[in-house]
């Protein structure tokens, strides 16, 4: 029997704010447990939650970047549940009137373009973090309670795990380039829940949904969905029924395990949050935010290839993060040749970051310095060999390349009146090389260039040395 899969994804993004969504508690990552939380987060009697304006602003940016329709009026609702990660016993979310609806992202899977719909996206608060001990107790840290989240709910448009993977990659990139979230799976600023149901081919009615929460990586998403496809098929083929439930993926065994039998939606007893007034989002404000929206990764890619003539591969490497793309753009804006800038970014800069396990933001290299160095290469002031030394100094110590080259006397020697006699002398001193050259051994030139480089301590302009050597050898 053939089965068809229906996959939907719910992606939570932590929005990059300084304070929480309903209280001024600082948003921290890795702080001591329960040091960044207050009475509003815990829902003490008499406290009044107040909405952080930045949360709406960042949410609207993502809505705009995914072509979603922003609702003119939204309000918050309470989702009631009892679990120690939330001392209020309810989560404040947007159930009835979410921030935005009907967006989409475009993906390319198996060589085919496909549009994956976004059903809706809403703003809500994060819950605290439970660590389960082995001694029958859990340990709760409420620093994360109240951190703003944007939940992006896809349409169940995906039909296999690869499409789910492609959707996640594209959505992450789009959100990252708005600057609204750090989108780091490993730090929990991007979290993925999946749901999957299967049905026999030809059957209209969708099968029973199984949900998987808190997957650690895109690869786990793919593996867990593939495992569930098989597991559910076996359940159905053996005459069983798939149970509506939440399951957990274990990366060690590659299997999924039941976590809880799902409560029906009505069990959450959603009702409008009485402590927070409704929000009317004016078009003026949306327009204002739209003007600040950074250029999308798709538009940047087009610009890099069409306008700068970069190879698609080089463009994609630059576009792996917003930081590197921004750095490249600033280097070009500072006068750096785009092709050279891309080469230096993708080889030397990335190599340095990998070797030192650093982020672009942590190094002393600035786009202005990289541009200045590229200009020195481009106008022949320094050779690319010398440039590597300059680069090492600039990225490690933030030294101005131009000043460094001047101070160290690294300026490339291009003066024919100096190089000419030097070349003649080297040729005189190496009759064997002259003979080799005449016998068609091109390697002879390389040896002679090496001699000149040695004498000038690498400062001679290799192009000019080559030209002069050819002229000199042909004279003999």
């Amino acid at each position: 029997m053939n089965f068809k899969s229906t996959i939907g994804l719910e992606v939570h993004f932590e929005l990059k704010t300084k304070s929480k969504i309903f209280s001024p508690s600082p948003v921290t990552y890795g702080a001591e447990p329960n040091t960044a939380t207050n009475v509003i987060d815990w829902g003490y009697p008499g406290v009044l939650p107040m909405v952080n304006k930045n949360v709406y602003r960042l949410g609207i940016m993502v809505a705009l970047a995914t072509h979603a329709h922003i609702l003119p009026q939204t309000h918050f609702d309470r989702k009631n549940y009892f679990y120690p990660d939330n001392p209020k016993a309810y989560q404040i979310t947007q159930f009835f009137q979410p921030l935005a609806r009907d967006g989409y992202v475009e993906v390319e899977v198996h060589g085919k373009k496909k549009r994956i719909g976004i059903h809706e996206m809403h703003i809500e608060e994060d819950a605290g973090k439970n660590t389960h001990g082995t001694n029958g107790f859990s340990y709760v840290d409420l620093n994360r309670q109240g951190v703003p989240l944007l939940e992006v709910v896809s349409e169940p448009d995906m039909t296999d795990p690869d499409e789910a993977y492609a959707y996640l990659e594209k959505l992450r990139k789009i959100v990252q380039f708005t600057g609204a979230s750090d989108v780091k799976m490993e730090e929990g600023s991007m979290r993925v829940d999946t749901n999957i149901s299967i049905r026999p081919a030809g059957q209209e009615k969708l099968g029973t949904k199984v949900e998987m929460k808190n997957l650690n990586s895109f690869e786990h998403v793919r593996l867990s969905l593939a495992y569930e496809e098989k597991r559910q098929q076996q359940v159905l083929l053996s005459g069983g029924r798939v149970q509506m439930s939440t399951r957990r993926f274990d990366e060690n065994t590659g299997k999924t395990y039941l976590e809880r039998v799902k409560e029906g939606a009505s069990d959450y007893r959603y009702f409008p949050e009485p402590d927070i007034p409704p929000y009317k989002i004016k078009q003026d404000w949306i327009d204002e935010i739209a003007k600040t929206l950074p250029e999308s990764p798709m538009d940047r890619r087009k610009r890099y290839i069409d306008q700068y003539g970069l190879k698609p591969y080089d463009a994609d490497v630059l576009l792996q993060t917003k930081e590197s793309s921004d750095f490249f753009d600033q280097t070009v804006a500072a006068g750096g040749d785009p092709t050279l800038a891309a080469n230096w970014m993708n080889t030397q800069v990335n190599g340095y970051l990998n070797d030192h396990r650093m982020e672009l933001a942590d190094v002393k290299l600035t786009p202005a310095h990289l541009a200045a160095m590229i200009k020195l290469i481009k106008d022949g002031t320094i050779s690319s060999k010398i440039a590597k030394k300059v680069f090492a100094e600039t990225i490690a110590n933030g030294t101005d390349p131009k000043k460094y080259v001047e101070d160290k006397g690294m300026v490339q020697l291009s003066d024919v009146s100096v190089l000419g006699p030097m070349v003649a002398k080297v040729v005189d001193a190496n009759p064997q090389s002259v003979e080799d050259f005449k016998n068609g051994k091109d390697r002879a030139i390389g040896y002679l260039v090496g001699q000149i480089m040695k004498q000038t301590r690498g400062k001679a302009n290799p192009k000019i040395v080559n030209k002069l050597l050819n002229e000199e050898l042909n004279k003999r």
Binding site: T17, K18, S19, S23, P24, S25, P26, V27, E32, P33, N34, T35, T37, N38, V39, W42, M50, V51, N52, K53, N54, V55, Y56, H75, N80, Y81, F82, Y83, P84, F96, T131, H132, G133, G136, F137, S138, Y139, V140, D141, L142, Q243, S245, Y257, L258, E259, R260, V261, E263, D267, P272, P274, I276, P277, P278, Y279, K280, I281
Partner: protein, 100 residues
């Protein structure tokens, strides 16, 4: 709408409460009376009146994104039944795996 004993038992489960038979009878009756009282509102003609989600006469109230430190950890942990190394200590709550 009439509340049944099963409704009360279900709500109790969602709230992590457990009642014995006597308590279930008592709360079914009490909750029923509360619902009956609230149901008097059904007599009001609300035709053409939009659903009310808020009774406060204002909207779109924002706070600027400015972090502030209010309570210290020791203050926050004062009302916690049990704590350990700055964490709140609670009994483990995970449903049993009954699918495999």
């Amino acid at each position: 709408m009439k509340l049944t004993r099963e409704d009360i038992a279900h709500i109790a489960t969602l709230s992590r409460l457990s009642f014995d038979d006597k308590e279930l009878d008592k709360f079914t009756k009490q909750m029923g009376e509360i619902i009956d009282m609230a149901n008097q509102l059904q007599a009001v003609d609300t035709k053409g009146v939009p659903a009310t989600t808020q009774v406060v006469d204002r909207d779109t109230v924002f706070r600027e994104d400015q972090p502030e430190k209010w309570q210290s950890r020791s203050e926050m942990l004062q009302n916690v039944p049990d704590s350990s190394n700055g964490f709140i200590k609670v009994p483990v709550i995970i449903d049993k795996d009954d699918n495999d």
